[in-house]
């Protein structure tokens, strides 16, 4: 089924509009030629390019952004975890980390840590994370550049187009056909802002990234503490409970990305960048028929009762797809509302999809190779 408001209407036009993305994805996924070593490598690379470009083509041809974004986003998130954990096993022989790994500063830096290092970085001029500034596959300087650069461009769009954790939450929020809990109060979105403040202050006080130590559910699909004593056992139990509760069960029964919407401090931090980004989602009130489909469909509790997109919008495009009149639209700040809505949509799609392909795509290529080598 096509979304008639946004569907390009014909195959040729969709192919032509996909071509820039094809060139970008082929260039970025080749990783400077490293991904093209052997025939097998080349085949995997071409397969990954095909997957990403077919999804992009379908976004344009069918006029549905969110559906195809979610397919690629969730698949990429799972494959990222496969690739990440395999990297760790090759590097240190395990997906767990020990005190020795922490003391050697060999822990990959994750974007969520940014929220905890900000205050000590400003006051004490140091980073309170046991990672490497320049080396390793997720060095602190590299992640800083990627996070701040992409957030300035996309705002909280990072959470729906680049976050390799968000894909897990997104996937589970789509499994059930209908939600068991039909309404989740949008006020719960403030919990993530409270988490941001609490985690930033708690981590600054102890000079340790406390969210990573105690509360991050995604350690289950990346790396976690080796269980050596009661404290590490407790940390692992908390991690499993939080993952099952916030990433699996609650998204299943509410069809909302509960971890992203209410718990993730990075989500709240990214929301602040929505004020800077030139792209946002806007409700053209002259076209709005107040049906409320946008609010019901929003997985991040980012549309209020007046059907206005809020600061925590992650630009996933679900409300835009759900809107029957085209009132909810991607919009470029400084341009008239309601004009050139397909242009604004396309201008957002290219950088957002570039982020997804580049940031997670390399891991997807690696993961496909790992899976092939298993057989």
């Amino acid at each position: 089924m096509k979304n008639k408001l946004y569907s390009t209407g014909n195959v040729l036009r969709s192919i032509l509009l996909t071509l820039p993305m094809t060139l970008i994805s082929m260039m970025m996924l080749s990783q400077g030629g490293q991904a093209l070593g052997t025939l097998e490598d080349t085949c995997v690379y071409l397969a990954a390019c095909a997957i990403y470009n077919i999804a992009f083509f379908l976004m344009l041809y069918k006029g549905e952004i969110d559906k195809w974004r979610a397919v690629v986003f969730a698949t990429s998130a799972v494959l990222f975890s496969v690739s990440f954990m395999n990297n760790l096993i090759e590097l240190r022989g395990s997906v767990t980390y020990s005190d020795a790994d922490v003391l050697s500063c060999e822990i990959p830096f994750c974007h969520i840590v940014t929220t905890m290092v900000v205050i000590p970085a400003a006051i004490k001029q140091t980073i309170i994370f046991p990672g490497s500034i320049m080396t390793g596959f997720a060095s602190i300087s590299a992640m800083f550049v990627i996070i701040f650069g992409s957030s300035i461009i996309l705002g909280r769009g990072f959470c729906s187009w680049g976050c390799f954790y968000g894909g897990w939450d997104d996937a589970f929020s789509r499994v059930a056909k209908n939600p068991i809990i039909k309404k989740v109060n949008v006020a719960y979105r403030w919990f993530s802002f409270a988490m941001l403040i609490i985690m930033a202050l708690w981590s600054a006080a102890t000079l340790a990234p406390e969210y990573c130590s105690w509360l991050c559910p995604f350690k289950l699909v990346t790396e976690r503490d080796a269980i050596v004593d009661t404290e590490t056992l407790l940390k692992n139990v908390v991690m499993v409970i939080l993952f099952l509760g916030l990433v699996v069960v609650l998204p299943l029964i509410t069809k909302k990305r509960i971890q992203c919407a209410t718990f993730c401090p990075m989500g709240a931090f990214e929301s602040l960048f929505n004020k800077i980004s030139i792209f946002h989602v806007k409700n053209n009130e002259s076209k709005c028929i107040k049906c409320g489909k946008c609010q019901r469909s929003c997985p991040l509790l980012a549309i209020d009762s007046k059907l206005k997109p809020l600061i925590n919008c992650s630009k996933c495009g679900k409300c835009v797809d759900a809107c029957p009149t085209g009132a909810m639209q991607f919009h470029i700040k400084g341009t008239p509302v309601g004009t050139k809505i397909t242009t604004a949509r396309l201008l957002f799609l290219y950088p957002a999809y570039t982020l997804m392909v580049t940031l997670i795509g390399g891991s997807v290529v690696n993961a496909i190779k790992i899976i092939i080598n298993l057989f």
Binding site: I119, S141, T206, L207, I278
Partner: protein
């Protein structure tokens, strides 16, 4: 105004690509930022003394204050030990007797809680 906005939006794809294409260059620049160094409470701080022999190596770090506002009443000193060591070290004016083997490390004859096994030895954090 709208043409400027559309133009800026159109350049964003190139900007996004540039982030990754020139990542090494941006990383070098980011690494020069004044806060881009790991906190000494994690690394142990600068090494101020070392004792090296054929059988062991000992590195004593500068004392660090664990807390954002550097509570001077608490100082933690890290000692890295490689190989078997038996002897005395002086930390913050106090003398400690260390006994480190590949199996365990004892401070003043007792197993030490703040000790961490590393690939080639032990790390102690003495408060």
């Amino acid at each position: 105004m709208k043409y400027i906005s559309y133009s800026i939006a159109a350049t964003m794809t190139i900007m996004m690509m540039l982030i990754f294409i020139n990542l090494d260059g941006w990383m070098q620049m980011a690494a020069q930022l004044p806060f881009m160094k790991i906190d000494p409470t994690i690394t142990g701080g600068e090494v101020v003394d070392s004792i090296v022999s054929d059988n062991y190596k000992l590195w004593i770090h500068e004392g660090v204050h664990p807390g954002l506002f550097e509570d001077k009443s608490r100082t933690i000193t890290q000692i890295d030990i490689e190989g078997d060591y038996y002897g005395k070290v002086t930390v913050n004016g106090k003398q400690y007797e260390l006994n480190a083997t590949s199996h365990d490390v004892k401070v003043n004859g007792e197993e030490y809680a703040a000790s961490f096994k590393r690939k080639n030895g032990w790390t102690l954090r003495i408060e």
